[in-house]
Each structure stands twice: as structure tokens, then as C-alpha cells.
Symmetry: C2
Subunit: 339 residues, 2 copies
């Protein structure tokens, strides 16, 4: 039995600096009826990701800004509860970019089936989904680590960083992670097999700590964080180093311009490459990436962690926690039970 | 008849900030005798280049620092005045990385013959030499401008910038130059055929001026300057823009860290690429580059300007002038007559 009404989360206001609860507004709306070639979906897992902060601002970016007064949306795993599409049956699971609602409508073209008998449902939002693919393409296409090279990963215990570091290990690189707690450092070394890990909050001078951890310099710096951590890593680049620029979470909540070391001199000295990217740049290679990630996962070469917050009422809190580094691995919200 | 003694220029002290005359020391030394497989060379043209500033500091870079108390050196065109080598005859002209001296010795492997009947001698230090090749590989290999794209060049009236801009025009791009005087702006537009040029000293806000000159954004930014000009250009990059980072002359004399806009956010938004390089990265393709540059020169598609300072006693002054933008095109010092 479907309820008569459900909840939706709208962007109440554009955050100034760090987002706050007041920037999100819950609204009671009806549960819609699917039209022709549409499905009604019940949200199971909802992904909250740092990149969403960018969409909450009214600035030109690679995706359109969210609109104030309209529902937020992102990666969601749902169960089909009503289907007017020949492509999907009730009870099947799908993934799509969907609004932050307990129930939502989608046209049959907007979603894609996922199979919980192949991999856990949540993994399609993480290691087998956008975050895994982000790590895969950023590291392999831009970073191109070679055997024996030193790869440094910032935000290393996050969803993308932990995948990128493991992929670098598979390539035979020495991997040094930077994270924000001793628990994360322990996880990187003992569970993921990183060669070294640094707690940037307790290490003292981060450049000195990195220099000590990377006696041969840095060949690949996978950038998730920016700020002073980025400055430190960039200052240690080797000749022909590569820097996939995936994120700069330290700057997402800045209200002033992000000021730090200019990189021109560094890049000239090292003939190094920095390249920004978003996973959609690689849309025509997603199949390749997902297939390889699935293979490594099945072979036990890749593992992942999830931080799962329970309840639709806790979506904003889970999102806000990303900027405090509360999550280990992929941060998800479990909105309803799978069965 | 050879003189008994000659002059040499040594690095007297490492410059603090902007180099000064006192950092250079003239010394009277003997004119040496060539040994086996050596030639004695009389300096005709001596190249002074911004990159030499980096070598005057005691910092790790892509080339070894100059040593205090030892002669400076760089690109030089010389005439063979005595030869103990079967490869070179007296009266022939050669190019090499040679000390700043009126006469110098070189082993036959250190120099390469240049032919003044093919192109003016000085051009082998400029458009057909390191500066032309720097523009060629930086622009074409990293910048990869496509027809109709917008290419912005800083330091556009310098030796590398003016070549890069013309090569971009040959590729069918719209080219916008940034330079430091009205005379240079006039030269870029009327002599080199740039589409637009900006005098950064008089344009007011450089970002606004660039935005107006580039209504379709920037697809390639050829970086010679860095600093606020670089910040402005980088802020206007289009999706998948490319930034060959060739120089950062605005920062070469800095005594403090070079602080400005961090680029991570910009690169992510635009999926843009920045790559530092030095011409020697392309050593195995010099033949290809020189041959193409020579062809364009012969076809009249490429032109160049030289600023020639006369007299060995004026080498430091010519070098120092680079940092005031005194030069139009390639800055050389003519040390002796060709005949």
C-alpha cells in the first residue's frame, strides 16, 4: 500500500559558506501516479556527495545550479513500485539521478536497472557507480601511475580517494594517503594496504610530513582536497608528474576567493600536468570502467567502506557531515528497507 | 689576429629579487688554445632569456643552478676562429650552449653548424632556435588549438609569445595577445595579425578586458607571465581548455612565495588541463619543429622581431631589461661583427 503523501527536500536558500540545516526545507507532497512509459519509484539509498555543494551556489560550473525552492537531486537507488513501462517490472531496482524524495516518478529512459544478486545495491552508488568510476578514470587516464612510482591521495579515506588509492596499488605504485583522523589512517594502511598514511590534523607541518613519507618525491597527486594540503603536495612533484584534479573540498564552502600558492612555477620546473575532470567526461567509457571495477571487486583486489545514515529526515545532516570528514568511504542515506 | 686576453661574465652573487648589475662580474681572462677535437669560437650573438633568472637562484629546477664565481652561459652563435676538429672549418658559424665570453672553447660535440645562407644567423637563437621551438611544441603539443577557438597569449610581444600567437593564427584560431605597451599592441595586431591585443598596463581591470576581448571564453591560454594576468586568464577558461605553462616572468624575481588564485576549482569546473614544459622535453622532435618553422618562415607565414643590444659590456643590461619588458621579440646581444 502506498501512502497518500510523502516528503521532499528543497533547497530553501543558497548556502553562504558552510551549508546549514536552514538551507534545506522539507515539504509534504503527494505520491504521484506514473504516466505512460513511466515508473513510480520508492527511494532506498540516496547518495550525498561533496560536488553537490557547488550546485547549491549560483555560479557557472559543469552542471547547472540547483534552483532555490526546487527539490535537490542526485544519485538514488530505488525500487519500482508501479510500472507503466514495458522495460521495468514492479519489485525491480533501478539507479538514476532523481529528486530527494521518498517516492519519485521517472520516465523509463531516466533510470537503469541494477541487480542486487551481482553486487550489493548500495555499491552501485559507490565503488561500481560514479565514485568508483571517478577514481578509475581520474587515476588511470590522467594520473597514469607506473610501477614503483609514488602516488599521493588526499581525501584518501573518502569514497573516491579510497578507490583511487587501491587502484594505484593494483598498478604497482607506492601509495601515500592523507586523511583527517587516526582511525582513517589505520584503515588506509591495515585494510586498504596503503604504504603510508598521514593524519593531516596531527602531523604538524603537512609539507614536512609528506616529504618524509615520499622520499622519492611525488609522481601522481590525486587531488580531492585543495587548500594547504594541495599546496604542500604540489610543491613536491617530480619531473613529468601528473595531477588529476578531482575535488577541492577544503574550498567548497569558501566565501572568499581561494588564495594560495600559484602553480605556474611549480609546473614549469617539473614539466608536470594538472587536469581537472568530472566523471561525465568519460561517459562513453563507463562500461569499460564498471566492468573492470566489478572484476577487481570480485577478485578481492578492491574493497570499500560505506557510512550509512538511516532515515530520510537525516539527509541534510549526512550531507553536512561530508565537510567535517564524518564519513569513512561512501556516505549514503538509507531511506527505506530493501524488502 | 687574436687578442691576448678577453672578457668573461661571472655570476658574482645570487640575486635577491630583481637582479642588479652588482650580481654580474666582468673578468679579464686569456684566450685559450683549442685542444684535440676542439674549436676556438668568437662570440657573435649571445641570447639572454628570462629562464636564466631561475638558474641564478639556488633552487631545484629543471636545469642546474649557475654557480657563484663561475661564468654564466646560454645560447650563443659563434664563428670558428681556430679548429682542431675535422668537423668544423675556420670561418664557419656554430650554435651552442656556451659561456658568456668573447671567445670560448668547445669540443666538436658541443656545437652544431648553422648556415647564414639559409636564414639570418640571429634567427637560429630565436624563431628557428629554442624560442621558436618552445612556442611550437608548447602551443601545438599542449595547447592544440583548433580552428575558430580562442587562444590567449601573455607576454605576447616577447620572443616565444609572438611565435606562439602566429602559429595559433596558422591553425585558424582567434588570437588575443596581452602585452605591456601600446607599441607592442600595435605590433601584435598590425604586423603579426593577432585578432585583438590588450595593454595590461592601461586596460584597467585585466579580467574585464580579457572577458570583453574573448566573448566566447578562452580555449587555449599560453602562459608566459603568471601573476594577476594568469589569474585573470585562468578564470575565463572554457570546458576542456588547455594551458601550456611556458613561463611566469612576473614571479621570477619574487622574494616571497607566489600567492594568488588556487586553480583546483577552476580546473574542475572546466575539465581544463595545465601543463608545464621546457623545450628540452621535446628534444627528440627538434628536427620536426625546426623544419616546420623554417617552412612557415620561408612561406612568409611567420615573422619575427629582434631587439639587439650592441656590445659585450651591455649583456647584463640587456638581461635586466627583459624584466621591464624592454624587448620586442627576441632579445639578443651582438658581441662582435659577423665578418
Amino acid at each position: 500500500m502506498l501512502p497518500e503523501s510523502q516528503k521532499q527536500i528543497k533547497l530553501a536558500s543558497r548556502p553562504h559558506g558552510k551549508p546549514e540545516s536552514k538551507d534545506f526545507q522539507y515539504e509534504e507532497i503527494s505520491v504521484p501516479e506514473p504516466g505512460d512509459k513511466e515508473v513510480l519509484l520508492k527511494t532506498i539509498y540516496l547518495s550525498v556527495d561533496p560536488y553537490m555543494r557547488g550546485r547549491m551556489s549560483n555560479a557557472k560550473s559543469y552542471v547547472e545550479p540547483f534552483k532555490v525552492g526546487e527539490p535537490l537531486h542526485g544519485g538514488v537507488i530505488s525500487k519500482v513500485v508501479k510500472s507503466n513501462s514495458g522495460l521495468f517490472k514492479e519489485g525491480e531496482f533501478v539507479i538514476g539521478m532523481l529528486p530527494w524524495q521518498e517516492y519519485s516518478l521517472a520516465s523509463e529512459k531516466e533510470v537503469r536497472r541494477v541487480d542486487p544478486s551481482i553486487a550489493p545495491l548500495s555499491s552501485y552508488l559507490g565503488i561500481l557507480g560514479m565514485t568508483g568510476l571517478t577514481a578509475y578514470f581520474g587515476l588511470l587516464d590522467i594520473g597514469q601511475p607506473k610501477k614503483g612510482e609514488t602516488v599521493v591521495i588526499s581525501g584518501a579515506a573518502g569514497a573516491v580517494g579510497s578507490a583511487a588509492g587501491q587502484i594505484a596499488k593494483i598498478q604497482g605504485a607506492k601509495v601515500v594517503g592523507i586523511a583527517g583522523s587516526d582511525e582513517k589512517v589505520e584503515y588506509l594502511i591495515n585494510t586498504l594496504g596503503f604504504d603510508k598514511a598521514i593524519n593531516y590534523k596531527t602531523c604538524g607541518n603537512i609539507r614536512d610530513a609528506l616529504k618524509e613519507a615520499c622520499p622519492d618525491g611525488i609522481d601522481v597527486y590525486f587531488e580531492n582536497v585543495g587548500g594547504e594540503i594541495g599546496d604542500a603536495a604540489l610543491s613536491l612533484l617530480n619531473k613529468f608528474a601528473r595531477v588529476p584534479v578531482c575535488g577541492a573540498i577544503s574550498a567548497y564552502n569558501n566565501t572568499e576567493p581561494d588564495i594560495g600558492n600559484r602553480v605556474q612555477g611549480i609546473l614549469i620546473k617539473s614539466s608536470a600536468l594538472m587536469k581537472g575532470f568530472v566523471v561525465n567526461d568519460y561517459a562513453d567509457r563507463f562500461k569499460e570502467g564498471a566492468s573492470q571495477l566489478g572484476k577487481w571487486l570480485a577478485e578481492g583486489k578492491l574493497t570499500y567502506e560505506e557510512t550509512i545514515t538511516e532515515g530520510f529526515e537525516n539527509v541534510p545532516e549526512a550531507f553536512l557531515g561530508l565537510f567535517n570528514g564524518n564519513n569513512l568511504g561512501k556516505q549514503l542515506v538509507k531511506v527505506s528497507k530493501i524488502e
